[in-house]
Symmetry: C2
Subunit: 232 residues, 2 copies
DNA sequence: TTGTTCACATACCGCCAGTACGTACCGAGA
DNA sequence: TCTCGGTACGTACTGGCGGTATGTGAACAA
């Protein structure tokens, strides 16, 4: 993967703007090293010394580009989220029908979530390291935004009129469901079979919703949902 | 909540077996202090000195009862999970019909997940601090077990014959969905309204599944699920 | 009463994130 | 070509924190 980069020399880069390219290379080396180590050993067990050692720079360089360990983690986080988002949106672009689109996106998501880096950095340690607020902000800009778009398309395909909060609720539910499902796929003995099971389960859920849409079921009345709830 | 415990004296406890009671009190003080501080400041930002200070003991006592910071965190984790599990199972005991049961459990879960300690320690930091394996083990014994029981009842209410892996897949999907939904409830401006939205959304999903069950839809055939998937 | 063990308390160590400060060198102006 | 300012680092150090080694006194068994 990463040929242990020989000491980078500024003189190797010709022409004007060498400084920018060089420092960009330093950042890349830092993020790459951090991503590898965070993925392998986790955030807490990875020391900055180990990171700068693997990146072949010093702590001075690290602290010149990033405000600290958490900021570097966030850079890795963003990179992984962007990669996943790109793959999912690309996969979803093929289909035109909202239901096909959702299924294509689902498969792409289940594939993306099998990347060890994504699982550890984004799913497992992201909330704890970044804190709830920053984690939410990052999610909002990538995977959650995609999910929101898909859910909006799927749920508005029928005659349902859903207000924003309700759509957001559905989106969050599906987002959490797929994150969890992704874990089960990634940790399964046979990821391929697990992925098919998840597709089947999600397919059933979506089909059920579509059936309700076709039947014109009202959704704001809890009593029609099989619940015997009292408004206590 | 916690009157800042005046220095505990062994002589205050009468009769035989004073040692056991005393040490049990020490453990309780440590777990209580840890739960408060972990909830407020998070795991990394909470020092052992702060914990033992609030618990009015010393690090020697802590390391006598627990192998380290992570073990103490796990004790807090278990306590919170057990509390939540108890509340949910108790709420589910009232209903007899599987669908009513699931709804009662859902409401109880949404209420339990609003506890700041549960959210921070179990949901947010649990996976990162305990690691994926230990986190799974703990979940398996509490909230996940409950969810599995409910899902099993609900899905087997119809004529579907689901094998273990498929039930597990559904359970994990619902578990993830509700954890995520719980967050949206807990962080909402109006938790009550958010809780109702989640109930409505989950109700719709379950109703949709029930409709499929009633219609006798086959589930192992992806082509009937509205997917135009090719087995590539 | 005496020896043993439990339940702590105290003092200390090593690691590590973060900081202060020094330095080389690229690039713009004169 | 020669300053000169600022960028992009490198080096040395510190404070705090998790963990450990060891001391101590009270409870319990004999």
């Amino acid at each position: 993967m990463s040929k242990s980069a020989a000491k980078r020399l500024l003189s190797e880069i010709p022409g004007p703007g060498r400084r920018q390219q060089f420092s960009a290379g330093t950042r890349r080396a830092l993020v790459d090293a951090a991503r590898q180590l965070f993925t392998q050993k986790g955030y807490a067990a990875t020391s900055l010394d180990a990171i700068v050692s693997q990146a072949e720079v010093t702590k001075g360089a690290l602290y010149h580009h990033y405000s600290g360990k958490q900021a570097l983690f966030e850079a890795v986080f963003e990179q992984l989220e962007q990669n996943a988002s790109k793959a999912i949106t690309k996969a979803a672009k093929g289909a035109k029908d909202p239901w096909d689109k959702s299924n294509a996106a689902l498969r792409a998501f289940l594939k993306a979530v099998q990347d060890p880096g994504y699982r550890r950095v984004v799913v497992q340690e992201g909330p704890a390291v970044l804190g709830y607020e920053r984690f939410r902000e990052q999610e909002q800009r990538s995977s959650y935004a995609i999910m929101l778009d898909i859910v909006k398309n799927v749920l508005s395909a029928g005659a349902w009129e859903l207000d924003e909060p309700m759509i957001d609720t559905f989106t969050r539910i599906f987002h959490g469901a797929l994150n969890s499902a992704g874990e089960s796929v990634a940790t399964a003995d046979d990821p391929e079979a697990a992925s098919l099971r998840v597709e089947a389960a999600v397919g059933l859920i979506l089909t059920g919703l579509r059936t309700l849409v076709d039947q014109g079921v009202e959704l704001t009345d809890p009593t029609t949902l099989g619940a015997t709830s009292d408004p206590g």
